[in-house]
């Protein structure tokens, strides 16, 4: 996992819960906690931090990830405004993830294992998103999408049609955008 994810998590926690909360989470997870955006760290460390947050806040890990994703968007906007400027709405921004955001990530971190999101039109007019990753962080994606809607002032309804967490091979989300 790229260090920037840890940094975003740290920022999100500190913004909402204060500087010491992050320190507490690191302690609970038994981690050193020196993360720089340029480094790479074991996926397990994120998992342990999410577990710790789940325990501390008394919410599910999925909820933690979703909250993290949603909170991360404004932080991302601060750091990487250039990804946002070409877009006028959240849908456009979200669908650029494979073509623009992840290629940019790869510019910084050669060999970054970015997940691929397959976007397609569903019969009922919604946008389908298929996601498959060994990290199984569909809830983080869910949160990112909500955060994007917040950022652009759009509304989105997200339905999990299928989930890897239920033992299925692929996550499938359905999005209904509205302004």
């Amino acid at each position: 996992m790229k260090g920037v994810i840890f940094n975003l998590l740290e920022d999100a926690v500190i913004r909402q819960h204060g500087l010491l909360a992050w320190e507490s989470l690191l302690e609970m997870a038994g981690l050193e906690g020196a993360y720089t955006s340029l480094g790479s760290y074991p996926d397990s460390e994120v998992v342990r931090l999410v577990e710790a947050a789940s325990t501390a806040l008394g919410v599910s890990q999925s909820e933690v990830l979703r909250w993290f994703g949603r909170s991360a968007i404004p932080l991302l906007h601060e750091r990487y405004e250039l990804f946002f400027t070409p877009h006028r709405n959240a849908q456009s921004f979200v669908t650029s993830v494979n073509d623009i955001i992840h290629p940019e990530v790869r510019k910084l971190y050669a060999g970054a294992g970015c997940p691929h999101f397959h976007f397609h039109d569903l019969e009922d007019g919604r946008t389908g998103v298929a996601y498959k990753s060994p990290r199984q962080m569909c809830r983080l994606a869910h949160g990112f999408i909500e955060g994007a809607a917040d950022h652009f002032g759009d509304a989105v309804e997200i339905e999990h049609l299928a989930c890897m967490l239920d033992g299925l091979p692929v996550c499938r989300l359905a999005l209904r955008w509205s302004r």
Binding site: S37, R79, K107
Partner: protein, 678 residues
């Protein structure tokens, strides 16, 4: 300097706040450091990718010999690199117009179809549209979304394809714009500096390909074209005519070769220098090209199946036209006539106007030919046949001509032997002053030297049977020289004898010697005559050189010079076969002749009033120009008497005396009864 302790927060809350600020500063410092590092990494990555792109484009440019190969790959590389929707290119034609070279790239052909279709065969004039503006200004142009929607000439298609921006770049060689590249994107083109850097370098590589392509084309052109006239050369002609021969249908008809030789070209070269010769060749090529282009083009316009023509310069003054897919043999003949007509108007060389004629030989393909080279040889042969006629013109090869040629070749070989083996001999036909009164005897005035070939198998052969072959084969120069020397020698001997016997110089007979055009026009001819006169000791005033009108036609100026020169030594000049050729009064007036010889054909048809009128006209003319006249071929006493009545002073012919060998002929000189003493 006074040292004071830095104040520390003493209370716990104050300490925590300060520590938190410290942590916050550290965090911000780290974020800044990361941002700096990320920017560096991104720039490094971008430049590596750009370098890799340019490396690929350079590799492609190095590999490609052909612009059309390279442009497709370059467009693809740039579009993929920039994530642009569509890229295309235009070549700049001679008129300064951007012409689509139908090279384009899009990763998504289906959605881009409307824009690709409206673009791929477009031509943009100077200043028109995006390519035209690049062409006009010589620098890149950018079109943003607003302009695209407002004034872009392909705005409908661009909108349909979701295009938001476009740019155009010139490809330059020096100051010349040789190509324009045009790109379309579905997003705004923001980082113009990076785009400029990349596309400009790609354009430089493309320009290298075009430069190489041009250099190769120039080399190839030079290798296959005549540098002076710009026409295809022998190599290209061979290539095209072989290909055309291979393509012939089962009937093997439809291919014609025209071999064209300029008449009188050498004289221009000799007289005015090679530069003048070059001007004549260039002008000739230009006129030929004009005639051929008009004819081939004319066919095309009428939408008929068109024939093709390749005009080539294959040697000094030799041109060849290969006509391909010819529906009718008449076309070759008509074209030849048109080529001859095209050269009728004189060509200006410096301050002079010169004329050249054409001898054209045509050969048509047929089942008898197994190679195009044979066809060429036959056309050559026909051309020589046309040239042998003396006045140029067109001859189409025929089987008869072929066998005639073969016979002539055999004859030529025999003639070479004859020259080596000295098989020639001279006969002498007496020339008389015609009797003024019936019963009066004609007085012998001279002899015409006539060659005979003492063939080892065939006996004596008349000149008509071998002189044409000798002329065609260039042997006439050797034979003519032999005749000149031999006749002068014989005359010198005769005069020595006669002088010993007391004949007065004014009673001595003269010798008339035929000079062939080729022999006469040799640059060394007059000095050669002078040498023969000296060496043989024959009195110059008793030598008459007979030339035909052909000589004067080929090169009037040189003819005049030579005639004047030999006359300055006392030699007389005689115009032979008068009335059969051009008989142009202008040259007759300008050329210094002493004598006209009326052609035998007029004498033979003297019963015809028309012939008599002509003879009378010739006699009047000669009288006005102060020329003496000899009538040839007098076969009856009536002819002789009539001629005398009409005022013709001299004559020769079977009626007066047949050609005889030297001994018999010279015996005629002796007064009655003394002949046996010889």
């Amino acid at each position: 300097m006074k040292h004071e302790a830095i104040p520390l927060a003493l209370d716990e809350t104050g300490a925590i706040e300060r520590l938190e600020r410290l942590v916050q500063r550290e965090r911000e410092g780290r974020l800044q450091a990361e941002a700096i590092a990320e920017r560096g990494l991104r720039e490094l990555y971008d430049s590596q990718v750009r370098l890799a792109l340019l490396q690929r484009i350079t590799d492609c440019a190095n590999r490609s010999n052909d612009f059309s190969d390279a442009i497709g790959e370059v467009l693809k590389e740039i579009c993929e690199h920039m994530s642009w929707a569509f890229g295309t290119a235009y070549r700049v034609d001679g008129g300064g117009t951007a012409v689509s070279c139908d090279a384009w790239f899009t990763a998504e052909p289906a959605p881009l179809f409307p824009l690709v279709e409206v673009t791929r065969e477009r031509t943009f004039a100077h200043g028109e549209g995006l390519p035209g503006r690049v062409l006009r200004d010589g620098h890149p142009h950018w079109i943003d979304e607003a302009e695209l929607a407002a004034s872009f000439c392909r705005k409908v298609q661009a909108a349909t394809c979701g295009i938001r921006s476009a740019c155009g770049f010139p490809v330059m060689i020096g100051e010349e714009i040789v190509c324009v590249m045009e790109f379309f994107s579905r997003t705004a083109m923001i980082d113009k500096d990076a785009i400029l850097l990349t596309v400009t370098q790609a354009a430089t590589q493309l320009a290298r390909v075009i430069e190489r392509e041009r250099a190769r084309a120039a080399l190839l052109h030079d290798a296959l074209h005549d540098a002076m006239t710009g026409l295809p050369n022998r190599t290209l002609l061979d290539e095209r005519s072989r290909a055309a021969f291979e393509r012939l249908p089962e009937s093997r008809e439809g291919l014609a070769v025209l071999v064209i030789d300029l008449d009188g070209f050498k004289a221009i070269n000799d007289k005015y220098g090679h530069h003048a010769g070059d001007i004549v060749l260039i002008e000739t090529a230009r006129r030929f090209d004009g005639v051929i282009t008009a004819r081939v083009g004319g066919r095309r316009r009428s939408d008929q199946p068109s024939w093709r023509a390749t005009l080539a310069r294959v040697g000094g003054d030799e041109f060849v036209v290969v006509l391909d897919a010819l529906p009718d043999q008449v076309i070759a003949r008509d074209l030849s006539g048109a080529l001859i007509d095209a050269l009728k108007a004189p060509i200006q060389v410096a301050d002079e106007f010169v004329n050249v004629g054409l001898s054209i030989g045509i050969a048509h393909s047929g089942t008898g030919y197994i190679s195009v080279e044979q066809l060429r040889q036959d056309a050559d042969l026909a051309m020589y046949e046309a040239k042998a006629g003396g006045h140029g013109g067109v001859v189409t090869f025929s089987e008869a001509l072929g066998s005639e040629r073969r016979n002539r070749m055999a004859l030529e070989n025999e003639l070479r032997d004859a020259i080596r083996e000295k098989q020639f001999t001279l006969y002498y036909q007496p020339i008389f002053a015609l009797a003024t009164r019936p019963g009066e005897a004609e007085r012998l005035r001279g002899f015409e030297a006539l060659i005979r070939w003492n063939h080892p198998d065939r006996g004596l052969v008349e000149p008509g049977r071998f002189i044409p072959a000798a002329e065609a084969g260039g042997l006439i120069v050797f034979i003519g020289d032999w005749v000149l020397r031999q006749a002068c020698n014989a005359m010198a001997r005769l005069h020595a004898d006669l002088s010993v016997r007391g004949l007065k110089p004014n009673e001595l007979p003269y010798i008339s010697i035929n000079i062939a055009p080729q022999q006469f026009l040799q640059p060394t001819f007059s000095s050669h005559v002078q040498r023969v006169l000296l060496e043989t000791g024959v009195p110059p005033e008793l030598v008459r050189l007979e030339v035909t009108e052909g000589v004067a036609i080929i090169d009037p100026d040189q003819t005049r010079q030579v005639l004047e020169q030999v006359r300055s030594w006392g030699v007389k000049t005689s115009l032979d076969d008068f009335g059969t050729g051009y008989s142009s009064l202008s040259y007759l007036q300008n050329l210094p002749f002493d004598t006209l010889k009326i052609d035998r054909s007029f004498i033979a048809s003297m019963d015809d009033p028309k012939s008599r009128k002509i003879i009378r006209a010739i006699l009047d003319l000669a009288s006005n120009l102060n020329l003496s006249v000899v009538a040839e071929g007098i076969e009856t006493g009536e002819q002789g008497a009539s001629l005398r009545e009409m005022g013709c002073e001299f004559g020769q012919g079977y009626h007066l005396g047949r050609p005889l060998d030297e001994t018999s002929a010279f015996a005629l000189v002796w007064p009655e009864g003394t002949a046996s003493a010889a």
